[in-house]
C-alpha cells in the first residue's frame, strides 16, 4: 500500500530527473545535431563516422546521451499516459510497452556505440 506521501515523493523525483535530463539534453542534442546532421554535402560515410567514434570521450558522451534521451522521452510519454489513460488494464499494457521499448532501444544503442568505438580498423 502506498500512502499519499510516498507517491508524491516518487513523482517528485521523476519530476526533478525530467528537468535535469532536459538541461543535459539541451546541450547534447543541439551539439549532436550541429555536428552530425549539418555535417556537409553528400551522404555520411562509414569511415568518417568510425573516425569520430574512435575518440576516447565518444562512448562516454554517447552513452550519457542515450540514457538521458531514452529516460526523458519515455518518462514524458509515461506522464502523458497517466493523464489520459485511466483504465488499469490499458495502463499496465502501455507501461509494459514503454519499458520494453526502453530496454530494447537501450540495447540497440549500446551495440552501436560499442561496435563503432571499439572496432579495429584494418587500414
Amino acid at each position: 500500500m502506498k500512502r499519499i506521501g510516498e507517491t508524491s515523493k516518487t513523482g517528485g523525483i521523476a519530476w526533478l530527473l525530467q528537468r535535469i535530463s532536459a538541461v543535459i539534453l539541451f546541450v547534447l542534442l543541439l551539439s549532436h545535431f550541429i555536428t552530425y546532421h549539418f555535417i556537409g554535402k553528400g551522404a555520411i560515410e562509414y569511415s568518417k563516422i568510425i573516425e569520430k567514434m574512435q575518440q576516447w570521450w565518444f562512448p562516454l558522451i554517447q552513452f550519457l546521451f542515450l540514457i538521458t534521451a531514452l529516460y526523458h522521452g519515455l518518462n514524458g510519454v509515461w506522464t502523458v499516459i497517466e493523464d489520459y489513460v485511466h483504465s488499469k488494464g490499458w495502463r499496465i499494457f502501455l507501461y509494459s510497452l514503454l519499458i520494453t521499448v526502453g530496454v530494447t532501444f537501450l540495447f540497440v544503442g549500446i551495440l552501436t556505440i560499442v561496435n563503432g568505438s571499439f572496432i579495429k580498423l584494418n587500414k
Binding site: A22, L25, H37, A43, Y46, L66, G76, H86, F105, N115
Partner: protein, 128 residues
C-alpha cells in the same frame, strides 16, 4: 480521483501557455518516435561499411533532407520551450513566462532559419 484532462479544452486555448503545453507534448511524442527510428537506422553501423553507406546514400535524398528541416524545427521548439519550463519551475517564472516564451520562440525561429538554410544548401538535387 484525478480530474480528467481533456486533450483540447477550448476554454484554455486563448492563453499562450496552453498552446506551449500542448505543443510540448505533441512535439515530445513525435521526438520519441524519431529517436527510436534513429537508433534503429544508426545501428546498421554494426552491419559493416557496405550496408551502412548504402543506407546513408538512401537517406541523402532531398525528401529526407526536407523532413530533417521539419525535425530541426520540432527539436528547437521542444528544446527552447523545455528550457523555459525549467526556468519557470526553478525561478519565479510565473511572473514572466509569457515574455520568456516569446523570447525563446524568436531565438528558436532564428536558429531554425539558419539550420534550414544549411540543410537546403546541402541538398543534392540530381539524385545520387
Amino acid at each position: 480521483m484525478h480530474k480528467r484532462i481533456k486533450f483540447f479544452d477550448p476554454t484554455y486555448y486563448k492563453f499562450v501557455g496552453s498552446w506551449a503545453w500542448i505543443l510540448h507534448r505533441l512535439s515530445g511524442i513525435a521526438l520519441i518516435f524519431y529517436l527510436s527510428l534513429h537508433l534503429w537506422v544508426i545501428n546498421t553501423l554494426t552491419k559493416g561499411p557496405e550496408t551502412f553507406n548504402k543506407v546513408m546514400v538512401f537517406l541523402n535524398q532531398p525528401l529526407f533532407k526536407i523532413l530533417e528541416i521539419g525535425l530541426w524545427g520540432v527539436i528547437l521548439f521542444h528544446a527552447f520551450n523545455g528550457i523555459r519550463i525549467v526556468i519557470v519551475d526553478f525561478y519565479k517564472g510565473s511572473l514572466f513566462h509569457k515574455r520568456l516564451f516569446y523570447f525563446f520562440i524568436i531565438i528558436a525561429l532564428l536558429l531554425w532559419v539558419a539550420g534550414s538554410y544549411m540543410l537546403i544548401s546541402h541538398i543534392h538535387w540530381g539524385g545520387n
